[in-house]
Amino acid sequence: MAATPISELALQDHPPRLLAGKSPGMRLARHTLTLIALALLVLPFADLHVLSRAPWGELGRIAQGLVLPHFGSVESPLSAIGLTVAVALWGTLAGMIMGFPLALVFSRSRFVRAGCAFVRAIHELFWALLFLQVFGLSALTALAALAIPYAGIFAKVYAEILEQTPTAARDALPEGTGRLSRFVYTELPLAFAQLAAYTRYRFECALRSSVLLGFVGLPTLGYQLESAFREGRYFEAGAVMWLFYLLIASLPWWAHRRLVPLLALSSLFLLGPWPDIDASLVWRFVSQDIWPQPLLAGDINGLIDWLREIPELLPVIANTLLLGLLGSVGALLVALTLWPLASHHFGNRLTQVAGKGLLIFLRSTPELMLAFVFLLLLGPSLLPAWLALALHNGALIAFLVARHADNLKLDMVGLPASGKLGYQLLPRVYPGMLALLYYRAEVILRESAILGMLGIATLGYVIDDYFQTLMFDVAFLLLLITAGLNILVDAGARRLRPKGIQPS
C-alpha cells in the first residue's frame, strides 16, 4: 500500500460532513431542509387532483374580468363599501376595548392566557356561523365575529409590546408611585407608537375579514364577490376586486389618524340592520342547542351513541394538518423566491414597482378568496387550498423580508446579483424569514380549517355540514376540536422556532 499524503490523512480524520456544524447558518439550513423533507414525505398522501377539464380557458376569462372590470354592473357598491368599512372599524375598536384590559393582566393570569388562546384559535367565519344562529344576518353578528377573536389577539400582542418597553423611565420613579400613574406616565407613552402601528395593521386585517363575512351572507363586498365569481360574472367580480384593492391602497389617506374619530362616528350610522334580540332564543342556544342532546337528558348510553354517530374525524383532521404543513412550506418557498423582486437591491425601478405590486396584490387578497377562485378553476382537491395558502402567506412574508433587506447597507460593492443575494443579504434576512413563518403557522392552520367551508376536505367541511343540518351540538364539539388543534400547533411552532430570533 502506498503512503498516504499527510493532507489527505488530515481530511480522513475529520471528514467534512455536509451541513454539519453548530454555526447558526448550518442550524437554520438543517432546520429548513428537514421541514421541506417532511413536506415531501407527506406529499403522496395529499389529494392534489385537478378535477376540471378546461381550467386554462376559465383562468383566461377570470384574468380578462380583472383587467377589464365592469364597474356599472356592481349593485350599490357604496353601501357595500360603507358596511365593509364600518364593520371592520367597529370590530377592531370593540376588539381593542376588550383586549386592552386583558393585555394588562395577560402575563399574570393563566386563565386569561388560555381564554385568549381559545378565542383566537377559532376563525372569524366560524364565529360568524355561531352568531348567525342567534343574531341572524345582522350587524351584531358581524361585529361579534370580528371583535371576539380580535380581543384575544390584541390581548396577546399588546401584552408582548408592553413587556418589551424599556424600563428605565419606570425605574426612575420615586418609590410609592401608584400603579396607574406608573402605567400612564412611563409605560404607555413609550409603547404607544408600537401599539398604534399594530392596531392599524389589525384594522387592515379586519377589512379583509369584513369582506369575507359576505361569504356567509352579510352584505359586505364579499357578498357580491362570491355570487359574481360563482356564477361566472367575472367582469363584475373584477370590479369588486378593484374596489377592494383601492380601498386597501388608499388606507393611509382615508383612515388617517385624525379622520378616525369622524369615521368611527359616522360609520356607526352605516352599521345595520340591528337584530331584535330574542333573549329566550339566545338562552336556548347557549344552554341547550350547543350541548350534546343526550347529555342534557342525562342519558349516558345515549351520549356514547351520540359520539359514535359522528363520522370519522381522523381523515379531516389529518387533511387539515397536512394542508397546514404544506401551506407553511409552500409559503416559505414562495417567500424565498419572491422577496428579491420587491427589494431595491435587485433589478431596476420598473421590476421593483412590479414586484412590490405583485406582493401587495397577493397579500391583500384573503386566502379564502384566492382559494375560492382556484377552486373554481381546479375543482375541490387540496391543490387550490395549498396554492392559496402558499401564495398569500408567502407574499406577506416576502413583503416584510424585502422591507428588512432594504434597511440593510451592503458593505461590498460591485458584486453580481447572485453574490449579493447569496453572501450578503440572504444570510442576514433568512433567520427573520423563518421566524416569521413560525409565527404564521398558527394563522395558516386556522385558514386550513376554514377553507373546508368551500368544499375542501378539512375540518371546516364537516363543521359546515353540521351547521347546515342544524346539529349545533356536533358543530360546537368540532369547533372545540379545531381550536384545540390550533392551540397545540401554535405551542409546537413556538417550541420548534429557532431560538434567539425575533421577526424583524
Binding site: 377539464r53 357604496l78 353601501s79 360603507g82 344576518l137 355570487s227 360563482r230 389617506w253 337584530p275 375543482g379
Partner: protein, 287 residues
C-alpha cells in the same frame, strides 16, 4: 394628496344609508337554489305582488345558504319562506306552530334528474346504470331535497351503499345552476338536480346538449312549499295567515309563475311532508 382623499372619506359617509328593521314590514326569504340574479328577479316580483295583495310593506331577504334561510325564519327575521322539502321540515321543527300553506302545482310530484357528461358514454335508461360506479359525482346543496336528499336515497336504494362508496369522488356544488354548469364543463361526470331547473334551462337554450344530458329520473316526491310562522296573525292582525295563503293561491300572472317556474300554487299542509321527514331521518340529516 391627503386632502384629495378627504372627499373620498366624506363620500363614504354621506352617500350611504343604514337599512334598519321596521317592525311592521312583512319579510320573506327563499332557499338560494339557483343563480342569485334569477332569484332576485323572481322574488322582487313576488314582493311587489304580495305588497299589493296584503296591504303591508313586503320585502325579500336574500341569503347565501339553505341553512341561513332556515335560521332567518327561526329568528323571526323573515315570517314567510319558500323552502325546499327538507329545509321546510327543518324550519317547522324549529318554529312550533309554523305551517306549510301552499306548494307549487308541480311540487306534489317533484323529481330529480341525474345528468351525465358526454364523455361518460351513458345513455338515458330506466334504472341507474351500473357503469356510474367509480365515476365522479356532485350533489347540489348539502340540505337540498332534489339535489341531495332524494338522489342520496335512491342511490343507496339502487346500490345498497353510501354515495361516497359508489363514486370515486362526491362533491356538493351548492346549487342546481352550478351542478348543471359543473357537469357540462366535465368537472364531474354525473350530477343530480331539480328537474324544473333543468327544464327551464333547456327551454331558455342555456344547455349545451352535446355535452350533457339526462340519464335517469327519480320517482316523484313532495318538494317546495311556502311556510309561514305561526305567530303571523299576532303580529299583522287576525286573518293575516289566511290572507297570505289566499294571495299565494290566487297568483295567476304567467310572467310571475314562469319565473319559479310553476304553473300555479295549490294548498299544502305539514303532514304532506312526512315522507321527506322519514327519508331525512333515515339518512341522518334530521334527528
Amino acid at each position: 394628496m391627503r386632502l384629495a382623499f378627504a372627499p373620498l372619506s366624506l363620500l363614504l359617509l354621506a352617500g350611504l344609508f343604514s337599512p334598519s328593521i321596521l317592525a311592521d314590514t312583512f319579510r320573506f326569504t327563499a332557499i338560494p337554489d339557483e343563480d342569485e340574479s334569477r332569484l332576485v328577479e323572481r322574488f322582487s316580483k313576488v314582493a311587489d305582488y304580495l305588497e299589493e295583495k296584503l296591504g303591508v310593506e313586503v320585502e325579500y331577504v336574500p341569503v347565501k345558504s339553505y341553512g341561513a334561510a332556515v335560521t332567518a325564519f327561526r329568528n323571526d327575521q323573515v315570517q314567510l319562506a319558500w323552502f325546499g322539502g327538507l329545509s321546510g321540515v327543518q324550519a317547522r321543527r324549529l318554529v312550533p306552530d309554523s305551517q306549510a300553506i301552499a306548494q307549487g302545482a308541480e311540487d306534489a310530484a317533484f323529481k330529480t334528474y341525474f345528468i351525465a357528461h358526454e364523455s361518460t358514454g351513458l345513455d338515458a335508461s330506466n334504472t341507474l346504470p351500473d357503469d356510474i360506479q367509480g365515476m365522479t359525482f356532485t350533489f347540489g346543496a348539502k340540505t337540498s331535497t332534489s339535489g341531495r336528499l332524494m338522489p342520496d336515497y335512491y342511490l343507496r336504494e339502487r346500490f345498497s351503499e353510501a354515495p361516497e362508496k359508489i363514486f370515486s369522488r362526491v362533491g356538493f356544488s351548492g346549487d342546481h345552476s352550478r351542478t348543471l354548469a359543473l357537469v357540462e364543463a366535465g368537472t364531474y361526470d354525473i350530477g343530480a338536480l331539480n328537474y324544473a331547473v333543468w327544464d327551464a334551462a333547456m327551454q331558455d337554450g342555456l344547455v349545451d346538449t352535446s355535452k350533457v344530458h339526462v340519464i335517469w329520473e327519480t320517482p316523484t316526491y313532495p318538494d317546495y312549499q311556502w311556510t309561514l310562522r305561526g305567530d303571523a296573525d299576532e303580529h299583522y292582525g287576525d286573518g293575516f295567515s289566511e290572507q297570505v295563503r289566499q294571495a299565494l293561491l290566487d297568483m295567476d300572472d304567467p310572467e310571475l309563475l314562469e319565473s319559479f317556474p310553476r304553473s300555479g300554487f295549490i294548498p299544502a299542509d305539514n303532514p304532506m311532508y312526512a315522507p321527506i321527514e322519514d327519508v331525512a331521518e333515515s339518512l341522518g340529516l334530521l334527528r
